[in-house]
Symmetry: C2
């Protein structure tokens, strides 16, 4: 399959590398010039479960988009959530009526942005439990295991979605076709909208968050806001199950982990994904007339902290 990956960070590099090694024709698009330079010069270099792997892949900046020749069958989105619009404005020339777009980003509401660039029946959504990191320009660390669940956004996309599942699976990405990927996306967003937002705001890890005063009530209140808004989109989130899942992380082997939003805000002073997690619940809540005070204030406070740390 001809595949273009938007965003050659850790996750984009993982998918590109694994899909390339399985015989697919992969092109990268990335906005970080040092990354482009490194990959052009020495290839994409990865620690792939302890094995050093180098693959030569074409890579372009969004401003060089007219240099990409053949159209891709599939575009996979791994840009930062808050760069989605900028990236798609730039890559619009490579999206034609036959191009499918798969979004595997954390958070909810990306389809509201993507629908402006691609028809609903060419849009695929999913989640992934794969992880990945970058140690420098052109250098990725790809260890551990993961999986992908995906589904077509509109019924007509089902055949292609199933093809993608097969291509991903052949590349070792452990893909499955989901009959209700939206539920999985919202459930994961609940986890991010509690653990990530609170750990970022309070500057703590997951285990420390679990030991704070009144955390149970607050988690349940936040999850209830996701559920109340989700109900207006036809989702019946199992709040008790999600709460148990979140609470279980406090004493799990990820208890000493600082979530990505903490890394973004506290360590790297970058803009977070808050707008696509609690921020989307707030925005959709206003649209449906559902009060979401906790998601609203958490979004406001994280946005304020972004200004204070001069996040980019």
């Amino acid at each position: 399959m001809k595949i273009t990956v938007l965003g050659a960070g850790g996750m984009g590099s993982r998918f590109a590398l694994m899909l390339h090694r399985a015989g697919n024709e992969v092109t990268l698009v990335d906005g970080w010039q040092a990354n482009i330079d490194a990959i052009r010069k020495d290839g994409l270099q990865a620690d792939f479960n302890g094995e050093p792997v180098t693959v030569k892949l074409p890579i372009y900046s969004p401003i060089e988009i007219d240099r990409i020749g053949d159209q891709a069958d599939l575009i996979i989105v791994f840009t930062k959530s808050n760069q989605l619009t900028t990236m798609f404005d730039a890559v619009r020339p490579i999206i034609n009526p036959d191009t499918y777009v798969l979004c595997l980003l954390n958070g909810i509401g990306h389809e509201d942005v993507l629908e402006k660039y691609v028809a609903k029946d060419h849009l695929l959504l999913g989640i992934t439990m794969w992880t990945a990191g970058m140690t420098g320009p052109g250098h990725a660390t790809l260890v551990g295991n993961g999986n992908v669940e995906l589904q077509n956004f509109a019924p007509a996309g089902k055949d292609f979605a199933q093809q993608v599942v097969q291509v991903f699976d052949e590349a070792g990405l452990n893909a499955t076709y989901s009959d209700n990927v939206k539920y999985a996306i919202w459930r994961k967003a609940c986890v991010n909208g509690t653990l990530n937002s609170l750990c970022a705001l309070l500057a703590c890890n997951i285990g420390e968050l679990g030991k704070t005063h009144g955390i149970e009530g607050l988690l349940k209140a936040i999850i209830a806001e996701f559920a109340a808004v989700g109900a207006h989109e036809g989702l019946q989130l199992d709040q008790a199950e999600i709460y148990q899942h979140v609470a279980a992380t406090f004493t799990s082997d990820i208890a000493d982990h600082y979530p990505s939003m903490y890394q973004d805000l506290v360590i790297n002073h970058r803009k977070t994904e808050i707008d696509f997690i609690n921020g989307t619940v707030w925005r959709k809540g206003e649209q449906y007339g559902v009060p979401t005070p906790d998601c609203q204030l958490l979004t406001q406070l994280i946005q304020m902290k972004e200004v204070l740390v001069k996040a980019k």
Copy 2:
């Protein structure tokens, strides 16, 4: 007047020193043993607007309360809000039916605690704009100017309240009798419940807070919650005036100031006064059936942060 000051921190030291110098018979009660030892040995030493002043004052620990002989006419409360119950449990033996208690602490709802120890008609409430600091045990820094507004909590206390105003005024404390001190207390609590809580949580100073995204809407929402709850207590807070007053601090000469709650939480890892500011609005809101989601979540987040910094 025979006066006992509970809490010989900066503010307690200021009032004790000024009232003593004006000829009143002042006794201190404090829980910090090093402070007691220093004041017993060398007296209370102050930088009083640049002039070094030392005054010998009797000082007792709450556990020595039976050693205080004569009963005071007036007890002034300058303990930390969250130590109010502990202090009053200890000093109960020195409160008799003729003893008046004046509370000048920041925050709202102290009367709910104090009513358990003193009759309503012997309770006085007020606010002060005086400031003070401690540089070490027995050493206070008392610079700048200030004032006091106070009033009896129940009508029968009016004569004594006016006597206190006169005694304070003779001591240079710029006291005035207020016909509606409750309004002044709530208005000041609005300022603390916006600036102090947000600066503590976001770890910034007042000027930085003023430059964050969406601050106007958030300030107005928090002030509206104070107003909605205050309305159930007969107060008609002028929300527009209070918002203007808070917003004006962002570009004032206190813009580079880190409020006391920031000092407590971020610098000194102490318990904050949040329970008597936003926390009281939350508690009273539940009592009156008034939603106070911002005050609630701010209180929860500050309480969580107190646990994370192991605040004492």
